[in-house]
């Protein structure tokens, strides 16, 4: 095989040259070339190695269905593996390497696998590598030893680990009619839809619109087809209601007529233009979809059909007519239908010698006979190719007399010398998107020997060859002889990339893997990167023959997205570098400026500590805690969920959703509330403030803010639609600062205007309004730390201003900012619960919050909270812990009764939160243990094998510091 560039007209712009490299060698091509066409123009015929046997492979197709010619593109550190060379447009400096070969493409030691070909048949792995039943390699060890080498041999290209520097973009689009495919049928559909005035989007995978009509000759609507395409496309371009997208492959058909497509915006360029993404992920919602997706030509299964130089007839013709590359000089054709004759004519027109046309049919149409005689060369009807010859490229093939009805071969084989064998085994409509769209099964057409689209389950129609209508184009009859395989011995490939042979299909049959899904799974037929575009129907046909059943009774597989492989980056688009929103409080920059170490808390970022230079985390939180308990501390509480509950029925609503009563709460007072889930388990807690008769401000935990809001809305909308209540999330509207400590009141008194903050004006759980630094604020006296404490809320936009004023006012009193670690320390000392204890599996009783379960009213969860599983004696319940060996405890450590570090058994519970308590001078923690309170005063052992910690603890009440609450009431 010696392909070469011709002077035929086509898409390639010979006036300009492009330099690129393949396996380190520099080549030249032209704009318009694919990597496949450019390499062929340079005489390259060997493109890749197959998956299993590492057989040399050339180019089989000219498009998305290519199974053989896969390459990896390299841009700096970034690698893009497994691209069909038939789809890669070359650009200046393109660097491509071949795959799955060592040390080189032409000499690949992996080809030794061919010797074991029969051993490596379908199902091979299932039957061996199990290893010895006893001894050091028992269990999974022998298999894993073997697997290590198998994994290295498997796979195709190598992925990079470097970050992909490209940008991806997501685009939503809406239209009345979406046309997929721009062949004549698609162009006509677009023209018609545009004429109706609707918004039309036309998608084309190729860089150029028009499909094969651009290069295959023929006439459309009375004019030259290529000209017709040009006219029609430019006509569409002028219409304001039509959007044409080339290099855009529709790959997914989802519900609601939603089509996912990927546009290759800059893949064909050396550099993307400024602001241009590499690829664009289109999500298109169309009222109607027209599927003009065309059809794929099928190969024929015969011995040696994978040798470089065996190519689909339509692909060979396209290289000659569209890419100006003659894929061979002495070309033979092997076909079971008339379409190949038109392609032979195109090849001859481009300058090739047609040495023979081998047709397995005894009788052919007049049209075919005429074309054959125009082509010259031998016409061998009633013949079949039985073998190919050559090394890594075709030099000739053998033919024998063939009876298409019986499949029998007679007479002596004859050798015909040729450097390209153009094959056509019939056509399969591209029904992939139609199949994805919904429920129906593809329908078998016996004339075409192909599956047609199913009945539409969504609003689409199929047109042109995608619908099985081949009347356009060259006008030849594409109905093939129903022959998919020539059985003459030797390896005859069905799935080229995965090296599935016809014998593998028959072995699957012999072993009972006869349903189409079993066939696929057992042999891996159709599972390669080309997704069986060339192999599905031949594979099914061979199985059908083995079963003695018609093809449709064997079944067809349903196609799943994507139609052809899509970059993971493109689908992830902008979200890759921006996985979730960052939620930042108004004082965020201040925290960072103060050197705070930030922790993620859900979507929020919160200060963990404000470390001084040289301080450890523990030193920092101890310092912050001590300062707060001895003077004052300030913490940013803006992240708490905040929900306005308003309306005449607001109090009643709260009574229903909280376990305790809120209707009795006086105006300008706050109350701590607990919510249960419907199933009776604890859900969330927080304080709710009554701002006016019908106005409540509910706070939730930071983590549950969104869920609680949604839950409340659900109850209001679905179950209590008559209640006059509105809910508004105001989390982001308010900035919150909590000032705690013995000097907190003094600080506030020095900075708050418009109200007193003394005990009488602002008692525990009281609310006042005033001003700080000229900013209106709302102050509620409540305490999480156990200290005298106040939450100061202001409009979020003024949060920093208020914060600054509080910090400044606090200076003389020793006010320090504190973070989550100190916050946690103080709440642990007090025995207050958070998400570590309200973990979705604990009950109010487990947490000794049963005093909050009102008996005066039903509430969400009240009917379910007394079921046997929720009141079991053996449940784990909240306790405090004190480390008895003076060493720190770890969150997530377990507790046991026995003093044996090696006996890992009989956990009685686990630690939920730990700290060093500056107030008690000890390492303490909270835990959930079986029996809870009953264990107060007893000893247990912390058992933490994950971190190698074992030691004694005393179980105590979770109220470890100031249990009477004197400090906060002071």
């Amino acid at each position: 095989m010696s392909p070469r560039r011709t002077n035929a007209p086509g898409r390639v712009d010979r006036a300009r040259s492009i330099r690129f490299s393949f396996d380190g060698k520099i080549f030249a091509g032209h704009p318009g070339d694919t990597l496949a066409s450019a390499l062929m123009a340079n005489g390259v015929t060997l493109f890749g190695r197959s998956f299993k046997y590492h057989r040399p492979r050339g180019v089989l197709t000219a498009g998305v269905d290519e199974p053989n010619a896969l390459v990896t593109l390299i841009r700096g550190d970034v690698r893009e593996p497994n691209l069909p060379a038939t789809q890669v447009e070359i650009y200046e400096g393109l660097e491509a390497v071949s795959q799955n070969r060592f040390p080189s493409l032409s000499f690949d030691v992996g080809a030794v696998n061919q010797l074991g070909g029969k051993l490596l048949g379908a199902g091979f792995y299932y039957k061996t590598f199990m290893g010895p039943v006893i001894g050091p390699l028992k269990g999974t060890r022998f298999w894993m030893f073997c697997e290590h080498f198998i994994r290295r041999a498997a796979g195709l290209g190598r992925a990079g680990t470097a970050k992909d520097t490209a940008r991806y973009e997501r685009m939503n689009a809406f239209c009345d009619v979406l046309v997929v495919g721009s062949g004549p049928a698609g162009l006509k559909a677009a023209r018609e839809a545009a004429g109706d005035g609707g918004r039309v989007i036309l998608l084309e995978m190729d860089p150029l619109f028009g499909g094969s009509a651009r290069w295959s000759g023929g006439r459309i609507e009375g004019t030259d087809a290529a000209h017709w395409v040009e006219e029609t496309v430019s006509g569409l371009r002028e219409l304001p209601n039509v959007r044409l997208l080339s290099r855009t492959a529709a790959w997914g058909y989802y519900d609601g007529n939603t089509i996912a497509a990927t546009e290759r915006v800059a893949d064909h360029k050396r550099e993307a233009a400024k602001g241009e993404p590499r690829q664009r992920h289109w999500v298109i919602r169309a009222k109607k979809v027209v599927l003009a997706t065309g059809a794929f030509e099928r190969p024929i299964v015969f011995a040696g059909n994978d040798r470089p130089g065996v190519m689909l007839a339509s692909a060979a013709a396209r290289y000659a007519s569209d890419f100006s590359v003659l894929p061979g000089e002495r070309i033979a054709v092997f076909a079971n239908n008339d379409s190949a004759y038109a392609n032979a004519a195109l090849l001859r027109e481009a300058g090739a010698t047609i040495v023979a046309i081998v047709d397995m049919r005894a009788a052919i149409s007049e049209d075919a006979r005429r074309l054959a005689s125009e082509c010259g060369g031998e016409l061998l009807t009633g013949h079949a190719v039985v073998a190919t010859e050559g090394g890594k490229g075709l030099t000739g093939f053998k033919v024998q007399k063939f009876d298409a009805a019986t499949g029998s071969l007679t007479g002596d084989p004859r050798v015909i010398s040729a450097d390209l064998l153009a094959v056509s085994g019939g056509w399969s409509p591209a029904i992939h998107l139609a199949s994805q769209a919904g429920a129906g099964k593809a329908e078998w057409d016996a004339t075409l020997q192909a599956f047609l689209p199913p009945k539409p389950a969504q609003d689409w129609t199929a047109v042109g060859t995608a619908a099985g209508d081949f009347s356009g184009g060259h006008g030849l009859d594409v109905a093939p002889a129903p022959v998919f395989e020539i059985r003459a011995g030797g390896k005859a490939f069905v799935d080229f990339q995965h090296d599935v042979t016809a014998d593998d299909v028959r072995l699957a049959h012999r072993e009972g893997f006869v349903s189409v899904e079993h066939l696929k799974r057992y042999t891996t037929l159709g599972m390669a990167t080309d997704q069986g575009k060339t192999s599905n129907v031949p594979g099914l046909a061979i199985m059908a023959e083995a079963l003695g059943k018609p093809i449709p009774e064997v079944g067809t597989t349903r196609f799943r997205a994507p139609f052809s492989p899509v970059s993971i980056g493109a689908i992830g688009a902008e979200r890759i570098g921006d996985l979730r929103p960052d939620r930042l409080t108004p004082m965020h920059d201040w925290h960072v400026g103060q050197g705070a170490k930030m922790y993620p808390a859900g979507l929020w970022h919160r200060p963990a500590i404000y470390g001084a230079p040289g301080e450890t985390v523990e030193q920092a939180y101890i310092r912050e805690t001590k300062a707060t308990r001895s003077a004052a501390g300030i913490v940013d509480v803006s992240t708490l969920g905040k929900i306005m509950v308003q309306g005449p029925d607001a109090a009643e609503f709260l009574d229903r959703v909280y376990t305790n009563l809120f209707s009795t709460l006086p105006i300008n007072k706050a109350r701590y509330g607990l919510m249960l889930r419907e199933d009776g388990f604890a859900y969330d807690d927080g304080t709710t403030w009554r701002l006016a008769e019908h106005d409540f401000l509910m706070t939730t935990t930071t983590a549950n803010a969104g869920k609680v809001m949604q839950n409340l809305e659900y109850f209001l909308d679905v179950y209590w639609p008559d209640m006059k209540v509105t809910l508004t999330s105001v989390t982001d509207e308010w900035a919150g600062a909590s000032i705690a400590g013995p000097r907190a009141r003094d600080i506030l008194a020095s900075v708050v205007a418009g109200t007193a903050v003394d005990n009488e004006t602002l008692p525990f759980m009281g609310i006042v309004r005033g001003e700080v630094a000229g900013v209106p604020v709302m102050i509620c006296r409540l305490s999480f730390s156990g200290e005298l404490a106040y939450e100061v809320y202001s409009g979020a936009g003024h949060g920093q201003q208020v914060w600054d004023a509080l910090i400044e006012a606090g200076q003389p009193f020793g006010l320090v900012p504190y973070g989550l670690e100190a916050l946690g320390t103080m709440r642990i000392e007090k025995g207050h619960v958070t998400g570590a204890e309200i973990d979705g599996r604990t009950t109010a009783r487990d947490l000794y919050l049963d005093w909050m379960l009102s008996k005066k009213k039903p509430f969400v969860g009240s009917a379910m909270m007394d079921r046997e599983g929720l009141v079991d004696e053996n449940r784990i319940r909240l306790v405090g812990l004190v480390s008895l060996d003076g060493r720190p405890l770890n969150g997530g450590a377990h507790l046991v009764e026995h003093n044996d570090p090696t006996a890992l058994r009989d956990s009685i519970g686990h630690i939920t939160a730990v700290c060093f308590s500056p107030s008690l001078g000890k390492y303490i923690g909270l835990a959930l243990v079986k029996g809870g309170k009953k264990r107060h005063g007893t000893r247990a052992y912390v058992s933490d094998p994950l971190r190698g910690r074992f030691g004694p603890v005393e179980i105590v009440s979770h109220h470890m510091f100031d249990p009477e609450g004197k400090r906060m009431h002071g």
Binding site: R151, T258, G512, M527, T529, Q531, P565, G572, L904, D944
Partner: protein
């Protein structure tokens, strides 16, 4: 039937593979069996195998609507682990891992269980505490677990972006080394072949259309291949339990059917050799022996029986994968598919006698059914044979929901889409 070994492979390779017979027979239904198992998926097939092997009950039929293994056994991401928090799940799944460890030998069929480990990444300090709690819980019942530091994780998974683009830094991880992956289809075929060799009938293309009743008692099934009587009828039809049970007059169950999508990329040379999960979102990923990255995320989150998902989850999962392994942004998604999950109300399964006399029920696997395949069949077989559960599945009752004895690994209550 030929024993599978490297010797039988060689012999057949050089003699046109004459010994290879169907992996299982294709018999016609008998009029009556001791046990009819409805559902020829992984759990139904393993149940049949262990009924025969462990309990000597071989007059058994597996009744399958389509082809064996057409359900979730062939639609999952092949991950196997026993890294559970709650003791009821721990004991059960650990028993499963132990069965997995010897399964290829037991079945004389290589199911390719590769113990390459499962690493849960913690993306916040509190999540690391949660993982420590779970890991320590595992260690206290004899399951392997270890915490990995950020440095260890970096060395173990060089391709990982340890900061997830700066948004979700990794704080550590929980590793179970004995976890891993297996070849999913091979599990179905291995069990089918193993059960068949012990005399169990595989009845494919045999759809159940109703139950035969004697008063309250279930005494057989009506199928598209005729009526089949049975002393015991066991139901293991993940995804379609609700529909089947309606035929028996049970109209409500603590089950919702949801679709879970799974994804595979094009084949790559070895990229990573473990299972890894992302803590701040929902993503789990591994690499198959053929080289494809196999991964999945959340269920779509609404009731469905269609084996097709929607685009928002696809976009979520791809963005998380590319954030985890930035080099994979340029790798291409090859295939996606969907499986129908029986989502239970607490995220844990049901393996029980009843709910009608003569009936046995196996359901509620959410998206954890694949790893459970051996233990599920083993326990279900025990339950069927002895009319009482084994201690491993004693907690997996149908009445636990009403009684409040829920097994809620995720602490999400009765909202299936959150489990």
């Amino acid at each position: 039937m030929a024993e599978y070994s490297v010797f039988s492979l060689l012999r057949n390779a050089f003699s046109a593979q004459p010994d290879w017979k169907p992996a299982w027979r294709k018999p016609d239904p008998k009029p009556e069996y001791d046990v009819v198992i409805v559902g020829g998926g992984g759990h139904g097939l393993s149940t049949a195998y262990y009924l025969a092997k462990e309990h000597g009950i071989t007059n058994v039929a597996v009744v399958e609507r389509g082809w064996l293994g057409q359900g979730n056994i062939g639609r999952n991401t092949t991950m196997i682990r026993s890294n559970y928090l709650l003791p009821q799940n721990q004991h059960f799944y650990e028993h499963s891992v132990k069965l997995w460890e010897n399964l290829s030998h037991d079945l004389n069929y290589n199911v390719m269980f590769s113990q390459r480990g499962c690493l849960n990444l913690a993306n916040s300090p509190s999540q690391l505490d949660d993982f420590a709690r779970r890991g320590n819980a595992m260690r206290h019942v004899g399951i392997d677990a270890e915490l990995m530091s950020v440095e260890q994780i970096k060395a173990f998974l060089p391709a990982l972006d340890i900061n997830f683009g700066g948004r979700f830094p990794v704080y550590g991880g929980l590793m179970q080394r004995r976890a891993g992956t297996a070849r999913h289809d091979a599990v179905a075929w291995g069990y089918a072949r193993g059960a068949d060799r012990r005399g169990v009938d595989m009845l494919e293309n045999c759809e159940v259309t109703g139950f035969l009743r004697d008063g309250d008692r279930i005494v057989g099934v009506r199928t598209t291949r005729g009526e089949i009587r049975a002393k015991k009828v066991a139901v293991a039809v993940a995804g379609h339990t609700g529909q089947l049970m309606k035929m028996a007059g049970i109209n409500r169950l603590p089950i919702e059917s949801h679709v879970l999508q799974a994804f595979v990329s094009e084949g790559l040379k070895p990229f990573m050799d473990t299972v890894v999960t992302f803590g701040a979102g929902h993503l789990y990923v591994t690499q198959s022996d053929k080289g494809g990255m196999v991964f999945g995320g959340d269920i779509d989150g609404y009731n469905t029986y269609a084996q097709r998902g929607n685009l928002p989850i696809v976009e979520d999962v791809m963005s998380e994968l590319a954030a985890m392994f930035p080099g994979l942004a340029r790798v291409r998604l090859l295939r996606s598919w969907g499986g129908i999950m029986d989502m239970s109300m607490d995220g844990s399964p049901i393996i029980t006698t009843g709910p009608l006399p003569g009936m046995y029920l196996n359901t509620g696997w959410c998206y954890g059914g694949f790893k459970a395949t051996p233990a599920s069949g083993w326990c279900f077989a025990w339950t069927i044979a002895r009319d009482e559960p084994h201690p491993y599945n004693a907690a997996f009752t149908l009445d636990r929901f009403h009684r409040g004895l829920v097994i809620d690994e995720k602490g999400q209550g009765s909202t299936p889409r959150l489990h």
